[in-house]
Symmetry: D2
Subunit: 255 residues, 4 copies
Amino acid sequence: MKVNPGDLILFCTEEGRTYLIEATAKKFQTHRDSFNLEELIGKPYGSTILGAKGTKAYALKPTVYDYLMKLKRVTQIIYPKDIGYILLRLDAGPGKTILECGTGSGSLLIAFAHAVGKDGRVISYEKEKRFQEVALENLTRFGLAERVIFKGEAQGSFDEKEEVDAVFLDLKTPWDLLKAAWQALKPGCPLGVLLPTANQVSETLKALEELPFVNTEVLEIMLRFYKTNPERLRPEDRMVAHTAYLLFSRKIKEA
Amino acid sequence: MKVNPGDLILFCTEEGRTYLIEATAKKFQTHRDSFNLEELIGKPYGSTILGAKGTKAYALKPTVYDYLMKLKRVTQIIYPKDIGYILLRLDAGPGKTILECGTGSGSLLIAFAHAVGKDGRVISYEKEKRFQEVALENLTRFGLAERVIFKGEAQGSFDEKEEVDAVFLDLKTPWDLLKAAWQALKPGCPLGVLLPTANQVSETLKALEELPFVNTEVLEIMLRFYKTNPERLRPEDRMVAHTAYLLFSRKIKEA
Amino acid sequence: MKVNPGDLILFCTEEGRTYLIEATAKKFQTHRDSFNLEELIGKPYGSTILGAKGTKAYALKPTVYDYLMKLKRVTQIIYPKDIGYILLRLDAGPGKTILECGTGSGSLLIAFAHAVGKDGRVISYEKEKRFQEVALENLTRFGLAERVIFKGEAQGSFDEKEEVDAVFLDLKTPWDLLKAAWQALKPGCPLGVLLPTANQVSETLKALEELPFVNTEVLEIMLRFYKTNPERLRPEDRMVAHTAYLLFSRKIKEA
Amino acid sequence: MKVNPGDLILFCTEEGRTYLIEATAKKFQTHRDSFNLEELIGKPYGSTILGAKGTKAYALKPTVYDYLMKLKRVTQIIYPKDIGYILLRLDAGPGKTILECGTGSGSLLIAFAHAVGKDGRVISYEKEKRFQEVALENLTRFGLAERVIFKGEAQGSFDEKEEVDAVFLDLKTPWDLLKAAWQALKPGCPLGVLLPTANQVSETLKALEELPFVNTEVLEIMLRFYKTNPERLRPEDRMVAHTAYLLFSRKIKEA
């Protein structure tokens, strides 16, 4: 596993800062040192590179987590703590077809596209064209664009009927598209919804009661990082307090 | 998508209790009613079945999350809140080769096997033979056994050398196998460790400092469910307070 | 500081179980042993007593925290994690006059009565007479009854006008009494509200916007216990996930 | 309750910023406006004052919580979420004698001094003289200095023997003073310890096992604020992730 020209690498400095960059014949400037990236090409991943000032850095193999943390953002993104859990609940795995609305900057989309593999498909609806342009840029950079079909605004319904394995809704008024989600889903399959506010959770729960969905659950996930000094183990001083509530449910044929 | 004889279905009662069972010509008895499962065969997923006492139940399509919640347990299992995040950090996706030690009841193993798809492989070490027997039973039930290679106790090293895309350690003294993990990993690739106690976190961090690993992070994930009454939205009264701390790091070629 | 006949003691067994009981000439039966309480009388607090089967127990000096944990309950109580913080926000200290509505089992009331001392007063409104009877019983047991004035249901207003240092509301529809709270409070002084559901928080915030209150804050407090094995330090497996949201605000003279 | 010259007031702007300042014949400049504080003198608390640019502000009655949030800091302070709970566990109420080591900036000391009232006493040990100077300044400003006795470094023991109602330790190596704490405490009475790191928790638990203490508990408290828009109720984006672990125990006469 050698670094090839044009490869995306996770460039990690000795202080632990990381950058997702291309391995090309360029200088790379961090806030502390300057690195000649050409030196990495042809070397194995995990190799050390020395900066002009003598500090070290490492060429790591980027993971889907790194893609999620380093993507270009034009909207609030969904965080890995939530994405990992969403993947399990929506059964996102090789070969699946998943529908999401909306695209945003494409963070969840990247994770879906990674999970469904070459034989899977992700259909992503979004009313803001410029968001999808950024999402496409992100997907292309990570080699995942071919697995995704972009569509524009969902006008109360989706094109898909009883044909997708999971639906995920991330928009301000998800209750407007619950019926559309129901129509798109294969029976017995899971729905997920991202809801930043408690009011949206209540509204969505109310709307769900009118539709043939069962097994509804609402939850939130908190992630706390720790300082890594083994002699002084303790959590970081500050953390993300909230991203969104998550709701999951299951389509049935009829109520 | 119809229910075939022998299919695993997620059987969900109208009160919301779920059971992962086979669709066969049997009666299925819940604490409240009795259902003739044969009625479901040939019907679409999502169909409703009536019990002898008139209560309803639904045949849902099981997800990997359901497999994780309903597997046969002989050890403490790893929870979905942690598993989803581990999948992202270890880049578990189609075609990957992942090494884990130990197997336990196979909860993380199921998620790995699901994520790597038909072209991927999971190598799972475990010293207790009876745990692997249960894990194999779980994997077989979910149709994932072919993707897994079981091995016995890791005696200070793994058979694999610079050939796996990720390593995950879940044993009492993971520091004993950090060097082995380093040897097994392709350079630049991720390591994950599950650590129930703070003392184990400190011990592992100390041992890691002696080895060519960078970008180490420690964290914990908390998940809180909410009651789903839209007029009285509030968290559940009780929750899981702790499962384990998670540690992630990356192999480099040399320090 | 010796144990006198009739003293309330915190009886703590060697396994760590605690009981708030009177020191009298009685046998005290735990699930494991039987103790002759008379032996404690005249001995200093902190003394050890041996049970009939040879297990040890200790006579500890009860604190207000012990009162809160061991009071007789007829309603959901407010927890110490919330009570300690409420005391600070409402400036509950020696000599203050505090109004609360409703009494419930008297848990917050006990803390208020303890904090305001002999020169302070707590006025407690409650529509359910039987709750106040239990609260009085609890207060009397802890020697705090003289500091409390009980009143019945607040019919849209309180008797007190611009004369109390703080108001705390713990009832289903606190928005009905916000104006009454405003009237009772000395200007510039704090209001606290306990709200189990998110819907109640929204409703109260809306109602507050119509009244001369400023500096409104909403929050929740989570408390996690740890297992106390120094070699295996880790949180308990389960915890209380939610008691209630807390809201604090301040009365001004006019909007 | 009128604002007198020299009174400490909590000055709250219409955007919700708060300042703890003296009511004197001065201009007070916020980042948005300028206020002539003299206008407030003689007016009731809760009165509104207009700035030169027409924005409003309010003179609120400061609470002990405001003192804690607005004190002069030279060290990491203890937070109200922890202080409120410590007060309950240590039974800090009118007339009590409490010993703490060390003083720091005096945040916990202010809360103790407030709680014990005029008839109580707080003895505060600290090796850094300059910290106590700041703490004294804070106490004097809040009118609480008379209730406090300052002492220098505790050289392995405290002057007090079986005479204090509670001890609180907040120093790097609390295990060095556990025996001293035991000697100072009245039997059966509570000890509290503040521990920023997990390693310190383990160390303290180990040391406690050698001494006549029982009923030991370790815990942490998390506080999450919410945004106060009733139509979009949700937690703040970020929060304090960790201040310290808290340990509580009880002295017995002998093991």
